[in-house]
């Protein structure tokens, strides 16, 4: 039995967050957001597998334990279900937990605590138990990782009443959305697109965050709307760039909040462009693309000039390294879908 003995070095504690170097990687942006959250609220706790001295397998929590002490930032045993269950108990005792699960594919053992406990405790207790947990989950593919290290669980989480779900697409977004999630009083699943951890950009640390549940138009356009989140936002921007060369102006919508979904922005865009392509990494069937297509159908039916196209991972287990490129939506596949939607003729 060991103790939570190590206390923060008071010198380091006093320093405050290092001035954000410009530009910073998404990894660093999340680190800065965590540091700020730990600083501004003494009840914030960061924990998970290897988040302490190692600083996390992606170094996202680098230096946090040294700075805030191992009572605020600590390693747990290798037990995902307990990590979430412990977060629930901490929240019931007035803390603001920010647990990490090391990889998307290792969130499955915690699904019971996430769905049956974390998401429902506030409801079950008629609002008596606060549940301001932000569950960080390095997510999605694109890094040719071993099995289980490239999963897309957003459809599962988005289906669970009581949860909120968000995916940042760039460092600034990651910074703002994470702080917003930690400050929020509801449980948030914060899905970090691993493939973008090393992207660098200025984060605009003082910019205010948009309200929870709002999407953002990252590139305006008029011929069709590409809808995506996480890494696929970048892929859609590439596609839009290419299409523009041919005079096709694609709007790119970063949905970012996958629960609640910003139906208003989604509908407004598609009503204008009359065509929609939704892109995600998760397998096609029962993926969140179905929800997006349904919402578009419900809110922009009369404007729609073509079926909503879905470009997604195939309905196969996430394949090994060299096949990943074939599995993930490619620029080509998205372009084919754009072409289909543009050329669609009613029968």
């Amino acid at each position: 039995m060991t103790e939570l003995a190590l206390r923060p070095d008071p010198e380091e504690r006093r320093e405050g967050p290092a001035a954000p170097p410009t530009p910073v990687s998404m990894q660093q942006a999340i680190n800065l957001a965590l540091a700020r959250a730990l600083e501004e609220d003494d009840t914030t706790l960061v924990f998970g597998e290897d988040v302490g001295p190692l600083g996390g397998v992606f170094r996202v929590t680098d230096g946090l334990q040294r700075r805030f002490g191992d009572h605020r930032v600590f390693d747990t045993p290798l037990a995902e279900s307990a990590i979430v269950g412990v977060a629930v108990g901490l929240a019931m005792n007035g803390w603001r937990p920010v647990p990490e699960l090391q990889f998307d594919g290792f969130a499955y053992p915690a699904v019971d605590q996430i769905v049956n406990q974390m998401a429902r405790m506030h409801y079950r207790t008629r609002g008596a138990a606060p549940m301001p947990i932000t569950l960080r989950l390095p997510s999605f593919g694109g890094i040719q990782a071993p099995e289980h290290h490239g999963e897309s669980l957003e459809a599962l989480f988005a289906h669970v009443p009581g949860l909120k779900v968000v995916v940042p697409a760039d460092p600034g977004e990651a910074y703002r959305l994470l702080l917003q999630s930690v400050r929020a009083d509801d449980p948030v699943v914060f899905m970090e697109p691993k493939a973008r951890y090393w992207d660098r950009a200025p984060i605009g640390a003082t910019e205010p965050a948009d309200p929870i549940g709002t999407a953002r138009v990252v590139r305006p356009g008029r011929h069709a709307t590409l809808i995506a989140w996480g890494s696929m936002v970048h892929r859609c921007l590439q596609v839009a760039e290419l299409a523009a060369e041919d005079g096709v102006h694609l709007e790119v919508l970063d949905l970012r909040w996958l629960k609640p979904i910003d139906t208003a922005t989604l509908a407004e865009s598609v009503r204008r462009t009359r065509r929609a392509v939704v892109v995600h990494e998760a397998p096609l069937t029962a993926g969140l693309g179905g929800e997006v297509a349904a919402l578009v159908g419900e809110h922009a039916f009369s404007s729609l000039a073509a079926p909503v196209e879905r470009v997604a991972g195939y309905d196969v287990p996430y394949p090994a390294g060299p096949l990943e490129r074939q599995y993930l939506p490619s620029v080509d596949r998205i372009l084919f879908a754009v072409q289909r939607t543009l050329e669609f003729q009613r029968a």
Binding site: M1, T2, E3, L4, L45, H71, T76, P77, A79, S81, A82, V84, G85, V86, A87, V88, G89, L90, A91, M92, N93, G94, W95, P97, P109, D112, Q113, N116, Q117, M121, H122, Y123, R124, T125, R126, G127, A128, A129, P130, M131, P132, P161, G162, K164, A184, D185, D186, I212, G213, P260, I261, T263
Partner: protein, 343 residues
């Protein structure tokens, strides 16, 4: 019969006797009568189902009475009615769960320091560990107590919790009511090795099995575990060995899986009768005592029965409440649609 040092359970009623045994007896007897009322309410169709705790009154009253209601926090399953009673939980709000008015019950679990009714076997155990780690971080001196059954001990969550607590030295007591049955599955088909307390050594923590039908033994063992936890000595397991005298729930049929002779045999071990007889022998109670307890217990059980029966059903719109602290527009939209279509 040894006397516990103090019983920080519910404050005694003005005219109640003050010795711990007297309090224990009255709590157990009240729980038994309320349990009987609940079974009756199920038969009458007021409760859709009910899970009786008959036979486990000593295990629950003894363990809950050892808690400090100012500082500690208990995490129940779905069968801890006598523990709730002992901790002074609003029992009408507790029974509301069985009337299906609200899954978790309608009492305030945070104010009561007694978690909501929780139906996931093993599910609340890590919450107790998290609560305890948080308490330790704050240095406020409280302890968590996690109730779970022999069946629950098979679940991964219970193991992860014990190991987690051991590593952190968390002030938590794992209180297993080993009632020898998990629905239809007997102890020897459920718990390899036969003892949940015996698991403690493997986590480097103390574990003790006590006679779960001896309220004072349960009290003592729990108090000792709490004292150790409060003093920084970390977690422990207390296994109260008892018997589920009733069917698993009102929907159950024990005739399919267990020998009535076993039930008869355990009837002789009834924890309430045992305490009553011991008190008589020790000269701590006479007919007048038992009669007055009976009156108060019956009155209390009937009050709760009547109040829960009369409790209003939740407003249909309550369905949309408390999903979030910070409500979403999408849910508001669904609520408006529901108001138009369903009201």
């Amino acid at each position: 019969m040894s006397q516990p040092r103090s019983v920080p359970g519910a404050p005694p009623a003005p005219d109640a006797p003050t010795l711990p045994a007297h309090r224990f007896y009255e709590l157990m007897r009240t729980a038994r009568l309320l349990d009987d009322e609940a079974v009756a309410l199920q038969r009458q169709g007021v409760f859709p189902a009910y899970v009786s705790l008959r036979g486990q009154e000593a295990a629950q009253v003894g363990s809950a009475a050892a808690l400090d209601r100012e500082r500690d926090f208990a995490f129940p399953t779905y069968r801890e009615m006598a523990a709730a009673l002992t901790l002074g939980v609003d029992m009408v709000g507790y029974m509301a769960s069985h009337r299906a008015l609200w899954h978790g019950g309608t009492y305030d679990p945070i104010a009561s320091r007694f978690g909501s009714v929780n139906a996931v076997v093993g599910g609340p155990v890590p919450h107790a560990v998290g609560w305890a780690i948080g308490e330790r971080l704050r240095g406020s001196g409280g302890c968590a107590l996690a109730y779970f059954g022999d069946g629950a001990s098979s679940e991964g969550d219970v193991h992860e919790s014990m190991n987690f607590a051991g590593v952190f030295g968390a002030p938590v007591v794992f209180l297993c009511q080993n009632n020898q049955w998990a629905l239809s599955v007997p102890l020897d088909r459920q718990v390899a090795g036969g003892s949940v307390a015996a698991r403690a050594a493997g986590y480097g923590m103390p574990g003790v099995r006590v006679d779960g039908n001896d309220v004072e033994a349960v009290y003592e063992a729990t108090a000792e575990a709490l004292q150790r936890a409060r003093g920084g000595g970390g977690p422990s397991i207390v296994e109260a060995f008892t018997y589920r005298a009733a069917p698993h729930s009102t929907s159950d049929d024990t005739g399919r899986y267990r020998d009535p002779a076993e039930e008869r045999q355990w009837r002789d071990q009834d924890p309430i009768d045992r305490l009553g007889a011991a008190m008589r022998t020790a000269g701590l109670a006479d007919d007048a005592f038992f009669a007055s307890v009976e009156d108060r217990a019956r009155a209390e059980a009937e009050r709760i029965r009547d109040a829960v029966s009369a409790a209003p059903e939740p407003a249909p719109s309550d369905m949309f409440e408390h999903v979030y602290r910070e409500p979403t527009e999408e849910l508001a939209r669904q609520r408006r649609a529901w108001e138009q279509e369903a009201l």
